[in-house]
């Protein structure tokens, strides 16, 4: 069983590696940030699989950290300046502008 679980973990690592192509291609910053989410979810799956395959319960704690990580990084990405700064750029707001400050 542990060989099978490790094999699935290997598959997920390759899967993430393929998904990282999206980081290289972009085209927007948010497209690249999507990789953090991909790695978050896949990393959680890889870690719980390895925890079971190797009998190391401590890995589940690491999996919890992975799960939170994408949120931390995305909040850092969205929070400071990025949104506000781009709002000031002369692009029309798709969500019917004039929503007040």
């Amino acid at each position: 069983m542990s060989a099978f679980l490790t094999g699935v973990a290997l598959f997920l690592v390759l899967n993430v590696a393929a998904g990282l192509l999206r980081v290289v291609r972009g085209p927007t910053q948010a497209d690249r940030m999507v990789a953090a989410q991909l790695f978050g979810t896949s990393g959680v799956a890889i870690l719980v699989l390895l925890a079971e395959a190797g009998g190391e319960a401590a890995l589940r704690d690491t999996a919890l950290v992975f799960a939170i990580l994408a949120v931390v990084v995305s909040v850092a990405f969205v929070k400071r300046g990025w949104v506000r700064k781009l709002q000031s750029a002369p692009v029309e707001d798709p969500a019917e502008g004039g929503e007040g400050p």
């Binding site: 060989a3 590696a17 990393g43 870690l47 009998g55 750029a89």
Partner: protein, 110 residues
Amino acid sequence: MTLPPDFAGGWMVSLLDLAVAVLLVALAARLLHTRNLFEAIVLFIAYGLTLSLAWVQVGAPNIALAEAALGAGVTGALFLNTFQRLAERSREGSGMVDPEHGDRGPEAGP
């Protein structure tokens, strides 16, 4: 990693080790090579998470936890903050190099 000593499991683990190692080197190479700062930051986060997997594979889950939380999470967030500072500054004083060089997006417009 304490695996039961069956051959198939060990063989699969070595394959996984190989994949993680190759991914690490590939990420590091691309990370150093790319001209796009934002891409480099995201790749750095991915690198931190892959390194965390590598720590798991050498049997150090505690270091893996620290690497994921600090190496990828906190450092990644700090890098993103710094990037946005740089972008703001380069928009005000036009003398600086545009950190978002090569990234298409609304900033590239006006």
